[in-house]
Amino acid sequence: MRPLLDVMLVPALLAALAVTGTVSHAPEDQGPDSTSFIDRVLEMVREAPSWKHPPGELDVSLVRELIEQGILSAHPASWAVPYPEERAD
């Protein structure tokens, strides 16, 4: 996990990732900036198996390991209800 100290030190990296714009705002002058961090993130994202549409499977052992390391959370989700068996198919 990245220490928070990074937060204020990596604005340029974040900008290069186009994450400093809003969903629909990436200023044109924020061209890609080649850094190992960005390359690593982009590579991981591109190589990630497509899990979307429809809902994807979870690599449970990986996710549990990441939860144990504190990288992911396992915070109880609100607005969830049990799904009745007869509709569960």
Binding site: V7, T22, S24, H25, E57, S73, A74, W79, Y83
Partner: protein, 334 residues
């Protein structure tokens, strides 16, 4: 009889999620029959931005907002400008460790007046956003949500009490567009806009104009008429330029003249404050008094270069009340 399968009622997808699966958003997973958020307190983007960048032009102008986002999104827009994180699974992007208390602390430490839940889709980190917004209010910080508005009514009403301002992306005006381009539907977004307004959340609307997809006059007119008619003339509208991204890298960027045209159509439809984002268009980022036409706020990209609105939100020339949340006003020319 209940099984270990759960259903998430947070957003209109209402995902039915079996054990060892996740919902469409990718960040809510069923572990042993319990639905958990994998991204609570784990943002992948943390940054101090001008509030103008959200974009919010009528909410605390010239202030900084502590902006956070986790991985994940419940939509799948083919034009997503932040797809590297919005369409990523949380295990694929290294996060920060920033629980709500720390987010508020950092926001204060960095001199921000608000916290913005932004960049990806904050609805999918609902619990993190809600807890942070509650603490933010206690600390005297405003909370801003930049969202596509694809959420169910119950969760929205609970959340909205803690949100001070929202920019909602209204992506198009047809269900077909939402289905084809965004993996969503239109009606829940319209409902979200109405509810936020009903509950007194300061509201601005953004439309990303995508060449060949939602940029003809009829599209722009029906969107403009709906916003002005349903939400009223005081809700600021932002037309934003598309840049080739994600699944639409073959398309050209939106021409500036299309955006200028969209602005004209929206003004004709009755909206009093219409802006153009992501490209320079004449008067595209200028706030003018709707009553006397005086220049009130000038901006250069995201920087406020001149503001003449009084702290009480009035035009200094004619005294008209300018819709928005001001409070930082005063006459100044920089």
């Amino acid at each position: 009889m209940a099984t270990d399968t759960v259903q998430c009622l947070l957003c209109p997808h209402c995902c039915v999620i079996r054990v060892r699966e996740r919902g469409v958003c990718g960040v809510r997973a069923n572990l042993d029959g319990e639905l958990v958020s994998l991204v609570y307190g784990r943002p992948v983007a943390v940054h101090v931005d001008p509030v103008e960048k959200k974009p919010l032009y009528h909410f605390m102008p010239g202030t900084a907002t502590f902006s956070i986002a986790t991985a994940g999104c419940n939509l799948g827009c083919r034009f997503c400008q932040n797809w590297e994180i919005s369409q990523a699974a949380p295990e694929d992007v290294p996060p920060y460790d920033l629980p709500p208390e720390a987010a508020v602390e950092e926001a204060l430490r960095s001199g921000c007046d608000s916290i913005a839940f932004t960049y990806t889709e904050p609805i999918v980190f609902y619990e993190y956003m809600l807890d942070t917004a509650k603490l933010a209010r206690e600390a005297g910080l405003a909370s801003i949500m930049v969202t596509a508005g694809y959420i169910n009514e119950g969760p929205l009403r609970e959340l909205a009490q803690w949100i001070d301002a929202a920019n909602v992306d209204l992506k198009g005006m047809t269900d077909a567009y939402y289905r084809e381009m965004c993996y969503g539907t239109l009606e829940p977004v319209q409902r979200t806009l109405r509810i936020l307004q009903e509950l007194g959340v300061w509201l601005e609307v953004t439309n990303l104009v995508v060449p060949g997809w939602n940029d003809d006059e009829e599209d722009l007119r029906s969107l403009s008429e709906w916003v002005a008619g349903e939400l009223g003339e005081d809700v600021p509208v932002h037309f934003s330029r598309f840049m080739p991204m994600y699944q639409l890298t073959e398309l050209p960027p939106t021409p500036a003249r299309t955006l200028a045209g969209a602005r004209e159509i929206s003004l004709e439809a009755g909206s009093r404050y219409v802006y153009v984002g992501n490209v320079v268009v004449e008067n595209g980022s200028l706030t003018r008094c709707h009553n006397c036409g005086a220049d009130l706020i000038r901006r250069d990209l995201f920087e406020v270069t001149m503001s003449r609105i009084s702290a009480s939100g009035h035009c200094p020339d004619c005294g008209a009340s300018i819709p928005g949340v001001w409070g930082t006003g005063g006459t100044e020319e920089r």
